[in-house]
Amino acid sequence: MKITIKDVEHVARLARLELNEAEKERMRAQLDSILSYIDKLNELDTSAVEPTSHVLPMVNVFREDEVRPSLSQEEALANAPDRHDLFFRVPKILE
């Protein structure tokens, strides 16, 4: 077994996902089988191989920091589940 219920709970907390007991066990079993398959990668010696994070030879793309037209506050807030005036509203974070 590569992954325990405790691992699942830890990762779910990191990912801000709530899972019930049945879902945790199902997730554990499925991740376990996927991770066992992924173990295949250990057949390869990659000690001298550089990682690829991006296929293009990427360099930073800079531009002048100029003011340009952008979304209005109204447009930016139009999809908010909850708002107050020109702000996104969320539950209180300080007691």
């Binding site: 990762v11 990912a15 801000r16 990659t46 990682p51 690829t52 908010a80």
Partner: protein
Amino acid sequence: MDLCRLTIHEMRELLRKGEVSSTEIVRSVLDRIAQVDGQVKAYITLTEEKALKQAEAVDRKAGAGGALPPLAGIPLAIKDVLCTKGVPTTCSSKILQSYLPPYDATAIQRLKAQDAVLLGKTNMDEFAMGSSTENSAFFPTRNPWGIDHVPGGSSGGSAAAVAADLCAAALGSDTGGSIRQPAGFCGIAGLKPTYGLVSRYGLVAFASSLDQIGPLAKDVQDCALLLQAIAGHDPFDSTSADLPVPDYSSALTGDIRGIRIGIPDEYFIEGMDPEVEAAIWTAIQTLEALGGKQEKVLLPHTPYAVATYYLVATAEASSNLARYDGVKYGYRTSRPADLLEMYQRSRREGFGPEVKRRIMLGTYALSAGYYDAYYLKAQKVRTLIRRDFEQAFERCEVIATPTSPTPAFKVGEKTENPLQMYLSDIFTISVNLAGLPGMSIPCGFTKAGLPIGLQLIGKPFDEATILKVAHAYEQATDWHLRKPPL
């Protein structure tokens, strides 16, 4: 004449001669949608009124004289992963069910700039995660060639819409095969461009180092037309390549004499459907008869592609999908006790099982203690996969493989086993990891009447050569002319 059955270039010709109006074409397609989309279920959102208004505007312009842009008046469908201003963009997810983008994706802007008519948004696997369109939070899409079969995924709605004449052509996105595999399953042409050729601005992100937007169409010429419209540098996507875009249609000469076609042994594996294998070898013989030269190539790291992909893609996805927090847009749970509960419940209630599974896998692969063993390891194997292709392309211009090891499978057949579902992408995934262009075109049918796809893979930014080879093959065969029994 059934206008909805025509390709873009056929519609264009009739529009140019003034023999039909865009309104007539759009009405024909809308009638077809009313007739058969109840069975196929390709569309999530139809924008009928907008489409007709747009068609009327094109007809007025045509009446005033002057040349129209290549896609003017042509009815297109858009995968629901591309932001369309003021038109719902759901990614087939509950979490974005009520999202109305305040802007258009660059690819959409470019279609609109050509006066294309947008019909609506097509169904997909939630957040483009899946290979069958069964992971849609709303309903599964069916394969027009066999209604109890899946259309493939994740761009299953777009592929089924093209195959069933519910649009002239469509846009999709491809992270591990999501354009090519459904194109293969639905018997149409679909192209994933080189990473960086098409701007990702306004494409809802799944795995940012792999995602590309591309066309799904009734034939190769239409793929070239649609690619021409959306390709090219965009300052709004820092990964978009600042290179001149060639004229793709002029590559469609029909002459492929001397072009070397690489055949990788590793793509003819045990477990491959014998009818698929036979169709691919016949297609390779056809390419040889046209003057192509068969060349044996090696892609030895192919067996590691699926494992690599499911680490790289899920790691990127877990990070990209962190934005769905119920604050700025998207679904929020009702009456959360505190902020943490708001995040956790909104995500629990908003995401479907496959999306949760991938967020969990990706978070695990990136978490302290596992990063080196999983994520970094996968990035290193990604380098090996990329090098395989670099070496193979020293010996050939195009690589030919099956698009998928089997034809379309039945609805429900793989939903219980995520790993089995992942393995259906085994021939398409490496292309994304290496950032290459790849295309699927129809190359036959099984005895049961399901389409078979031939995949052509090209060198970076050499879409012109795969389009040329695909077009020459198409001219020599008639698979692309067949219509599903709907």
